[in-house]
Amino acid sequence: MANISIRQVEKSYGKTEIVHGLDLEIASGEFVVILGPSGCGKSTLLRMIAGLETITGGEIAIDGEVVNDLEPRERGCAMVFQNYALYPHMSVADNIGYALKVSGVGKEARRAQVEEMAKAVGLDAYLDRRPGQLSGGQRQRVAMARAMIRKPKVFLFDEPLSNLDAQLRVQMRAEIRKLHRQLGTTSVFVTHDQAEAMTLADRLVVMRAGKVEQVGTPAEVYGRPASRFVAGFIGSPPMNLIEGAIDTDGAFTPTLQHGSALPLGRTDLAGKTVLLGLRPEALRLTAPVAGTPLATVDFVEELGASRVLHLDWAGQVLSVLQTEPTTLAPGDIAGVEVPPEAAHLFATDTGERLRGSANRAKREAEAVP
């Protein structure tokens, strides 16, 4: 087990900069998920930790030792690749035991360890098969066993589940989580799938364009997104983002909306244009009451356990997630109830979160009675 320190790390190919001065501390035994859209540099970062990419600037230390100039094998990392990268000409047993063979472990000792590993991932019946004769999920397990057998200081996962079908993905997710609980090895997991990220992470790192946007527990990142990007990227259906102005009473008026301001009590932002973020599940639909925000139902997405109502709020698209059944049909008009503590405010120019919004509103709401 080891901690990882990433200090001011940069990566560029020629003139194209991929990662810009990135800082990240990963504690020993932690399961960190790096989440971001494709091309944000998350895989590059992982590969720099592994030693498969050179580091153009800054330094990476594993267990206190700077590894910039170490070969991958000297860093004590094991990696699971997206397309498994199994050795096609070797049996499952040889695949799992290859690292041991390279490091000179004897045949008998190797066999025992391989069998133990194979049992741990439920592959003991397949040891003599070739990777080509296995299903996707089984190959994934071989890749995991191959990584685990070296008892690495750090596990690196490069989108390992994206080639699996949805059902298997959920199952493997649970297994990875279980394995991490058992082994407690520091793990870095790269993905673009937010469900994967939310369920696996002790700590979530959201990246965009080579920079860290936010670091925090999944609940923190979801509950208090640090920027407009994070707000829109995490959550399904995504957060509603509405541009508008704060008036002198601290109430929010959408740019496109006429009348019906939302009282938020943010007098500190009076006169500013802001982005209001509202999670679909934080909104409630009521019977239409004059003087409150009204919206027209566009269509209803039925998801079984819940349903998403897409509404037209004077030109703004608004989605509302509710668990209770609805009788609303397209064309119906409903009132939108916005609890003040559900409002996230972001600056329109930088996209940064305007701090204190939810808390302040909540405090004031509590102070009323």
Partner: protein, 304 residues
């Protein structure tokens, strides 16, 4: 494209069969001619059913051309070229594809350009080098005046000489040094996924380890293909062995055919010549038959 017309199928089969007949007929003539006696083989037209003198013709050809020695020479020559070629091209291509050093593209193109210079084109300089491997160095010494200096101060005349004529090395080495195999391997290595190298790196395998444990087993079918092609090609090579060997005991079987092919003043013993041809033709056929399974599997296998 799948055509389901019966007539079309029949036409295709007939055409294929005709093609087969056309390509097999010369071999058939050789085999038949080798079984006739001197009189029958010179009849016009030659009878197309087998005669009774195959063994006699065979032993005449064998002793006249001394095939016992020459076949051994041929086998050494062809195996040497095939193995040398496989080894050299696998190593060169490995270096060019997997190592990021300065000037590797240039090196690749230099190797590639030798494809445009087959042995026949560079045969005179190649012969000069084979006659004295050190002659280029001698030339450098002469041109730069170093040999003059040495002669002037020490009185020793520098004359480097290391000839490869009439030796296996002289036969084999010039044929090994071409680019065909390198190119083949390079193209194959480029199809191997990068993750394979990376996974091996993570598992702690160094470059040599990766070469032995991954590259060699994965390119088994390529090795078989290249080996077969090179063996047959070297076996059939005529010009270079003719030039570089003068000692009859160093000559290869194909050149040895000269001894059984009738010349204008001798008896027209085409039956003996054809028996000799059969003997020389056989080993490449055996090699192809042996490696064919691997060869075909290499073309069919999709597992990568």
């Amino acid at each position: 494209m799948v055509e389901r017309t019966r007539l079309f199928n029949i036409v295709c089969q007939v055409l294929l069969f005709l093609g087969l007949v056309v390509s097999v007929f010369p071999f058939f003539i050789v085999a038949i001619a080798a079984t006739h006696n001197l009189r029958d083989v010179n009849l016009v037209p030659m009878p197309l059913w087998p005669g009774h003198d195959f063994l006699a013709n065979f032993s005449t050809a064998w002793t006249r051309a001394n095939f016992g020695v020459k076949l051994v020479n041929s086998v050494i020559f062809a195996l040497g070229v095939a193995f040398g070629k496989v080894a050299i091209s696998a190593i060169t291509a490995y270096s060019i594809v997997y190592f990021g050093y300065r000037g590797r593209t240039l090196i690749f193109w230099l190797v590639f350009i030798t494809l445009m210079l087959p042995l026949e084109v560079r045969i005179v300089p190649t012969y000069a080098v084979a006659a004295n491997v050190l002659s280029p160095y001698q030339a450098i010494l002469d041109v730069t005046g170093i040999s003059w200096l040495i002669a002037h101060f020490t009185g020793v005349q520098v004359a480097l000489n290391f000839g490869l004529l009439d030796s296996y090395a002289g036969l084999i080495l010039p044929l090994v040094a071409t680019a065909t195999g390198t190119f083949l391997y390079r193209q194959f290595f480029l199809t191997l996924p990068d993750e394979l190298v990376e996974a091996a790196k993570m598992d702690g395998a160094g470059p040599l380890r990766f070469f032995w444990d991954m590259i060699i087993p994965l390119s088994r079918t390529n090795i078989a293909a290249l080996f077969t092609i090179m063996f047959v090609w070297a076996w059939n090579e005529y010009l270079w062995p003719l030039l570089v060997t003068t000692d009859p005991l160093k000559r290869v079987a194909v050149v040895g055919l000269l001894d059984v092919v009738p010349d204008k003043d001798s008896l027209p013993e085409w039956n003996v010549a054809m028996a000799g041809t059969l003997i020389v033709m056989l080993p490449p056929l055996i090699i192809v038959a042996l490696t064919q399974r691997l060869f075909v599997r290499g073309l069919v296998a999709t597992e990568k």
